[in-house]
């Protein structure tokens, strides 16, 4: 059965501001899933809290709206319980690198086969405009009226250093390109991080569509994403030169965590019988 983009609509419209980058990401997700022929009933999406987290009301899938910063551990649990599911986790930059920072780096280290899409708008949108872990230095917000005093994280470098085996950057304004990244991320066996530049038309007047269109360029086949150090250098290119590459920065083949578990070699945990274990066997060592 082929899925189409319309199969993923619930009929409700998202509550994002007109022009929000989230619309582009939503479109790319629907495109990617239908091109992969994944049906709504088989696509598991775990969200954090933020504007990104309002997607499920409009998006037909197996949705789990979790807590701020916590979609990754929930996704970890889902994947281990049923590794045959296609599991996506979705966060904003605050969700991923603020509240959920520890889970971000540990899931990368663990390398479970989960595709992580980060809506990176460099601000806390849903709570009406506070500084985020990726806000540029000097960025003025409700929590830094005089301008942020800290340097932002580099999400790509963070992901690469933490051990993610697929690290990419997309742009909400280039849906076709992002669609392809999502497909590649899903196909990749391991933890795939797609950091998406997402203009926030209401609270971020620095990183606008215009700004991105002027500075973003697509990586092509002259860039080979298989060396970690080159990938890190590429990740820092924006800070160094002002040019913003988008595309696949790094990919490595490393066995996903769940494939090393002998308990689920033959069947998913959810497929295994729960019948009462042989008590005699269990208590033998206590005699």
């Amino acid at each position: 059965m082929t899925t189409t983009v319309n199969d993923f609509s619930t009929g409700r419209l998202p509550t994002w501001c007109p022009g929000c980058g989230d619309f582009g990401i939503w479109a790319a997700l629907k495109n990617a899933l239908s091109e992969l022929n994944i049906e709504p009933k088989d696509a598991v999406f775990v969200y954090g809290i933020g504007c990104h987290g309002n997607m499920y009301n409009a998006f037909k899938a197996v949705n789990f709206e979790s807590l701020h910063g916590r979609p990754l551990p929930v996704a970890n649990g889902i994947k281990m319980a049923n590794h045959k599911l296609s599991v996506f986790a979705v966060s904003g930059d605050g969700d991923a690198m603020g509240e959920g920072g520890n889970h971000f780096i540990h899931t990368a280290k663990r390398n479970l086969d989960i595709t992580y899409i980060i809506h990176d708008n460099q601000v806390y949108g849903l709570t009406t405009g506070q500084t985020s872990p990726t806000s540029p230095k000097g960025f003025k917000s409700k929590t830094n009226p005089e301008g942020s005093m800290e340097n932002p994280f580099n999400p790509l470098a963070l992901a690469i250093a933490a051990g993610a085996t697929f690290v990419a950057r997309g742009f909400a304004g280039d849906i076709a390109h992002l669609t392809n990244l999502i497909k590649l991320g899903h196909k990749h066996k391991g933890f795939s991080v797609i950091n998406v530049l997402q203009p926030c038309v209401t609270f971020n007047h620095q990183n606008t569509y215009q700004f991105y269109r002027q500075n973003v360029y697509k990586l092509d086949e002259t860039y080979q994403p298989f060396d970690k150090i080159s990938a890190l250098e590429k990740a820092y290119e924006w800070e160094k030169t002002g040019k913003i590459p988008i595309g696949l920065f790094y990919e490595e083949q490393r066995m996903p965590y769940e494939e090393e578990l002998s308990q689920i070699k033959e069947s998913a945990l959810t497929e295994q019988s729960l019948s009462n274990m042989d008590l005699d066997n269990i208590i033998k060592e206590f005699t």
Binding site: T10, R12, P40, K41, D42, A43, V44, V46, N54, Y56, N57, K60, A61, V62, N63, F64, E65, S66, L67, R70, P73, V74, A75, N76, G77, I78, K79, M80, A81, N82, K84, L85, N102, H103, H106, L261, S262, Q263, I264, L269, T270, Q272, S273, L274, S275, N276, M277, L279, I282, I283, F286, T287
Partner: protein, 589 residues
Amino acid sequence: MQQYTDFTWKIGGEAGFGIMITGAIFAKVCTRLSYNVITNTEYPSLIRGGHNNYTVRASPKKIYSLQKTIDLLVCLNQQTLKLHKNEIKKGGSIIYDPKEFQPEEKDIPNGVTLLPIPLYEIAKKNNGDIIMRNTVALGASLAFFGIDFGILKNIIVDQFEKKGNEITDLNVKTAKSGYDHVINELKISPTIFANDQKPSKIILTGNESIAIGAISSGMKFFAAYPMTPINGLITYLASHDQIHKYIYKQPEDEIAAINMAIGASYAGVRAMTATSGGGFALMNEGFSMSGITETPLVVVLGQRPGPASGLPTWTSQADLNYALSAGHGEFLRFVFAPGDPEEAYWLTKLAFNLSEKYQTPIIILVDKNLCESLFSVDISQLSNTNILPEKVVTYSKTIDRGDIVNNPDETYVRYQSTKNGISPRLFPGKGMHFTTNSYEHNESGLSTEEAEEIKTMVDKRGRKKLMAQNESFGPILYGDKKADITIVGWGTVKMAVLEAMSILISQKAKLKINYLHFNCLEPFPIKNTTDLLNQENKIVDVELNSEGQLCNLIREKTGIYIADKILKYDGRQFYPEEIISALQVIAKE
């Protein structure tokens, strides 16, 4: 010659001296005699130094807790004698190494026998290093109590099998030297006894009781971050995951632990997490999410004194209030507080059923004393027991996964507002898309801010709470209905209270006590409590906290005010003697 039929042995020394493993082996020896065994460990939060001790009480008759007095104190250093000299019975004995220290006159209680044994020398003679002193002491202790050496030999062989013949032989020889020294040099030779029948008991910790309860109930996912006193639960489950085919995952923090467990449960397996107070504090938001998303979850909460870091290696019952109110917002939870390892096993099984039936979190509230001490358990008690109401035991023998949807259609919604409040549950990947939500939601799981829809959902979850009242059980009455004093207590005070009652009966004391044991704290058994608490009796609340939390809970739920309390909150468990003294004071008033 004296035959010991109810004896208490204690060994002490610095951390790093092998105290814990020696104590565990001695406890196992006693279990193989088919004796009832109760133990306790005391150790500071250190890896080396400080003072560790291990106490084992063993008896052919039913015992419920340790008593304060010891028959044999094995001192691997002088500090042990100084700290525990007042616990030694008249007629008791002390084993010590005269090369290590000479007991000072003031440290030798009246009527106590000194048994100098050159522990280090004997260890060295067998080519062992200084840590083998405890092995010598182990052999010596067996001889002292008249226990057949063969029992220890078999345990050593089992224990060191994997380490090879050389190590096994070393340990057997060293232990035997200690044993022979007592018989040949000290000329102590009680009648040697062993158990000819197949042992009817196992020996395990409270942590392990919970573990086997969970495994036998089909738990498939366990995520827990190390924290005393539940580390033993983690260690056991982490090493048995491949045999019993479940996954143990060590998470990056407690927040990940609970969220992983919720994810796994949501995906369709029975999931559990475990922690202590501080870790549970981190889990509270996740706990609340389990409540609103209606995802089953079992949480083992092992108490130690708080607040904050508190006393990692000591025991307490100060988190009852916390367990009852944890997690913001209003939602159903169950709180069970097992009183001993048998209850821990059965209530864990019950917890998995009820958490899935009601799609809600359940806390198994235990403490360091239960979690980390070894106890003997009659094997028969794991198949059937009368220490819990029949309805609980019968139900716990089944696997009830609640209302699961197998063939969903387009009309399926996750939070259907049913009459009893329980909405049929679908697992991901089982044929239909659906939404699970930690925001307030409507029946479809989509977020809502509409007044009507909010009320509908809160009421729906409220109906679950109402229905759950029927699952409440207890309190359980021990002793005659007619008594001078009724003790109320919850969780592990059961052990010391029943021991106190047993002592009073054996002494043919005039004071008549009965005990009302609470192990289901939420839903609170309001009617039973009101019926059973005979307010003509004096009622005394016994608990290991400073506020009398059960006392306050009983008043809140039933209006019954209990004026007399025996409260202990110094990090140690109750001893029956303390309870008896305090009761005698209260009885005089």
